[in-house]
Structure formats: structure tokens, C-alpha cells
Subunit: 177 residues, 2 copies
DNA sequence: GTCTATAATTTGATAGAC
DNA sequence: GTCTATCAAATTATAGAC
């Protein structure tokens, strides 16, 4: 793996646990075993790292959705993939969604990062709206906005109260026919 | 108003916008017009301020619920109050829930703060469960976990994409009979 | 690509005067 | 309660050698 990706992996992991401002270049560099000055070769400013982090996260996320779309035509199977992408973050990785974390800190972040986060949410709402439409659900767009909200919120609440039933409750709502 | 409450007001406002680590004692003191050293008289450590912030926030929140409980016996009216406490944060104040913000940053915060945040969520789930039970809703506890999640998540998503319809979608779900 | 060295700033926190 | 003065540590960032 490239050093650039190693940096992004560690930064993503730590920021999804602690937030943007609680993670320093020294933290990240220390875990890799290099000096913080070396990070600036890959990402001149911290904001550059943050933006790239969100873009990579969003691309990975939406690539997984695309992959699922090519595996099945059943809209409910596709929605299940969308749910599991959120669910597994907490259940398997014990991590929140990067964009939920950055969304919660929005006014403390560089504007470039906020734009990327907003794009992520809009794209998710749009994707889920189409999936619900394909499933013949009424008010697909409203339902999609509720679905994105409940999954993001459930990660935060389930993580805080340490109860995966919170995630299950949210998943059931999104998948309800 | 006491100076202590002035400090808490400003700290709460800024941290609900930016997160815990993006707000410094100097920020807060500067807005009041005193020096940061003076803040340590009221709150020796930043963690003390953070804990008091969450406790005050939770007490105010639950006092508003209690007040509503004494105004009406209709469980759906009470649930409406619960919804509006969340909704108005964003719609009227343009702020997220303090505990959603701190919950998103949990591993970057002092443990005392996390405990207070967890208590807030647990108490909300418990309150909403009882309200749904009183309304005769099936699976009241699961529904309550979903309800708390969707409202917290909707604040973050609606704020990011600047679309209050996200909040309305979440509110409708929580109030659906 | 990574290092050393270093600058400039910010931060949480304390001591002691008023 | 607030101030001045001060500190030690941390942080983002740059310059230049290897």
C-alpha cells in the first residue's frame, strides 16, 4: 500500500473516533513511524488531508453501492446494502460515519471539508430516493431523507449507549416495506 | 445572569457549532470580555466545563419534558414536545444537539463528559419508550430507540444539506401513529 | 520521501496581586 | 472575580539537508 493511503487510513480511523481537531499530524505520523514534517509532503495542509479523507470515504462508499447495484436488480436488496454499509461501520469496526462526525463539527472545519460532507449526504439521499422509487414506495424522497438521518443518528446513539439494538431499530425502519 | 451562566451559554453555543476541541477558553473569555485565566476560577479544568455543560443541557431538556407532561395527558402531545425540542434547535437556533456533537467526538473527550452524554441518550430513550407505551404503540422501546436516533441524525444531515425537509421527515416518523 | 531544525501560534493551566 | 504574567506543551507549517 502507498504511504499516502497508509496516512489516509490512520487519519480516517482516528478522526472517526475523535473528530477532526482532536487528531494531530504528530498522532498520525507517530503511528506510521515517521515524523510529522513528512506528512506535509503528502498533504501540505491539514485541510488538504481532511478534504481528501472525505472524498476517498465517499468514493469508497458509493463504489460499494454501485457494486451492489450490478449484483441485483431487487431494490430492497440494494437498500439492504445501503443499510449494511452503515451498520457494519459500528458493528464490525466500532466506528462512526466520517461524515456524521465532520457534520457534527461543521463550523469548526475548513469550508472545503464541509462542501465534501454535504455532497456525501446529498448523494446518499439521492441514491436512496431512487431505490425507494424503484421499490414503489410512496414519498420516496421524504423517506430517503428520513433513512439517511436515522442511520447516521443511530451510529452515534448506539455507540454512546453501547446498544446495537439501536442500530437494528434504525435498520428495520429503513428496510420496512 | 450570573457570570457562570454567561460562560456556559457561550461555551454551549460555540461547541454546538464547532465541537469541543475547536473551542478554547480564550474564545469564550474573549466573547464575554474577560481574560481566559478568569475562566479557571469558574471551571478549574476544561473537562469541568464540559461536564457541567452536558448536565445543564440535559437538565434543561428534561425539565421542558416534565413541564409538558404537566400540561397534557395525551401521549402524542407529549411526543410532539419531544420532537419540537429537537426541531427548534436547528430551525430556530441553527444549532445541533450538544450531545450529538459530543457523541460524535466521544473518544476525543474526557470520560466524564462521555458518561453524561450517555445518560442523556438513555434518559431520552427511556422517556420516549414510556410515552409510546402510554400511546399504545407496539414495540415501544424499539420505536423509541429509532425515534431518538432519527432526530439526532436529522439535525446533522439537515444542517449539512441545508434542507429543513429533512427535519420534517424525521419529525413525521416519530409522530406517526 | 523522510529527516532535522525551527518558527509562529495556540492552548490549558497556575501563581499571585488587586 | 478578574487581572497580569508566565509556563510548558502541543500544533500547524516551512526550509533545507540527505
Amino acid at each position: 500500500m502507498s504511504q499516502r493511503n497508509r496516512i489516509l487510513d490512520i487519519a480516517e480511523h482516528r478522526m472517526r473516533e475523535r473528530g477532526y481537531n482532536a487528531v494531530s499530524f504528530r498522532d498520525i505520523a507517530g503511528e506510521i513511524g515517521i515524523k510529522s514534517a513528512s506528512l506535509h509532503y503528502h498533504f501540505p495542509k491539514k485541510a488538504d488531508l481532511g478534504v481528501e479523507l472525505v472524498n476517498r470515504y465517499a468514493n469508497t462508499f458509493h463504489a460499494a453501492l454501485d457494486a451492489s447495484d450490478s449484483l441485483t436488480t431487487d431494490p430492497w436488496d440494494r437498500i439492504k446494502t445501503f443499510v449494511d454499509l452503515h451498520r457494519n461501520a459500528l458493528v464490525e469496526q466500532e466506528l462512526l460515519c466520517l461524515c456524521a462526525v465532520f457534520g457534527a463539527e461543521s463550523r469548526g472545519l475548513p469550508e472545503d471539508i464541509n462542501s465534501a460532507v454535504t455532497d456525501f449526504f446529498k448523494r446518499n439521499i439521492s441514491w436512496l430516493t431512487k431505490a425507494y422509487e424503484a421499490a414503489g414506495v410512496e414519498n420516496a424522497n421524504v423517506r430517503a431523507k428520513a433513512g439517511v438521518s436515522i442511520l447516521e443518528g443511530a451510529l452515534i446513539v448506539a455507540n454512546s449507549v453501547r446498544d446495537n439494538e439501536v442500530i437494528e431499530a434504525a435498520s428495520d425502519f429503513v428496510l420496512q416495506r
